[in-house]
Assembly symmetry: C2
Homo-oligomer: 201 residues x 2
């Protein structure tokens, strides 16, 4: 934990504009989610936490209402197992991930305090998701190690203000395991950043 | 974390037969779930971890296959928010929590490596759940602070070998906030234990 706090402190001090995401995928009974929220937003001082929706409203809302902090709710994840439950349709034909999006909007979730995880490997579903949450940021993992297409993500997911946070983790942090790590990881990150900026023109 | 390791070490040394549950509700892409499993089962040396099913198979299976260790998968939780998604029926009328139970049996989950969380506040659903997982242990929170009925849990959830782990946390750990905590909490735990043993006769 000490290394984690030191890393966050380093970023806060040297790069104060960076948005820090704790990709912790929490979600528990209200009492426990409240404690998690205090730990992440207070003690750890990150800007956002990813939250799993399975336990519903009272497992998610304790993460809301922390000034300037964000909930990033799992909607449609990038992994293969997303197929198991997230696409299951209700009798009206609405898939679970859409029910998660819709319900979250009834919980006080809005474009200023909640974003959604939508995997880059599910880019073809982004148009459908944009109809439900047109103004919200989407956190998009799955570029890089998981093989998602940045072109498709931008084509289907971008809104008038961009509205995308595209994440590449393993392609950068596992780019090199020698003493050259810092420079190789930097080059890899710069490469992704360059590709992204092309789509923002 | 230091206090946590010391507590686990104390229990392992003094009460080696106790079954230790990390009620951590993890669940992430395979690579990350694998690391969580190594952390909980290896480094932390607990017997079981609660796992959230939203991300599907590859988020759960890395927790399986650790000799003598258990996955406790969220099926039907005790909190109010369980109503939001866990009861949503598919077009064949099967609710999500049943789809979770059924799928988990295809992932290598069996009565020797996987249990399920079923809230005591959902006791009326236990007969339905027992049809799908007749031999599995069920971890039942919601007795005590959350108001579930132990009588109902036993009536609907017990199998020929009992098959229940009934959990009371807040009613015990928040039983007293003075220096009398140890004795008051002990008395409260003994009270629940006595009530339970009556149902086992």
């Amino acid at each position: 934990m000490q290394a984690l706090y030191k890393t966050i402190d380093y970023i806060r001090t040297n790069y104060p504009d960076q948005f820090i995401i704790a990709d912790a995928k929490r979600g528990d009974i209200g009492n426990t989610s409240k404690m998690y929220a205090e730990s992440f937003f207070g003690e750890m001082n990150v800007d956002s936490v990813t939250v799993a929706p399975y336990m519903g409203q009272d497992s998610v809302t304790p993460f809301l209402g922390h000034d300037g902090k964000w909930v990033i709710l799992l909607a449609l994840t990038s992994n293969k197992g997303a197929d198991d439950f997230q696409y299951i349709k209700d009798p009206e034909g609405t898939p679970l991930y859409q029910n998660v999006l819709r319900k979250s909007l009834e919980w006080g979730g809005n474009a200023d305090n909640m974003m959604y995880v939508v995997g880059a490997t599910r880019a073809e579903m982004l148009s459908d998701i944009r109809r439900t949450v047109p103004d919200s940021f989407l956190l998009v993992p799955g570029i890089g190690a998981q093989g998602g297409s940045l072109a498709d993500v931008c084509k289907y997911g971008m809104n008038s203000k961009c509205g995308l946070i595209v994440n590449s983790s393993r392609a950068i942090i596992y780019a090199d395991s020698t003493e050259n790590f810092a420079s190789v990881a930097r080059a890899k990150a710069a490469e992704v950043q360059k590709e992204m900026s092309a789509y923002l023109k």
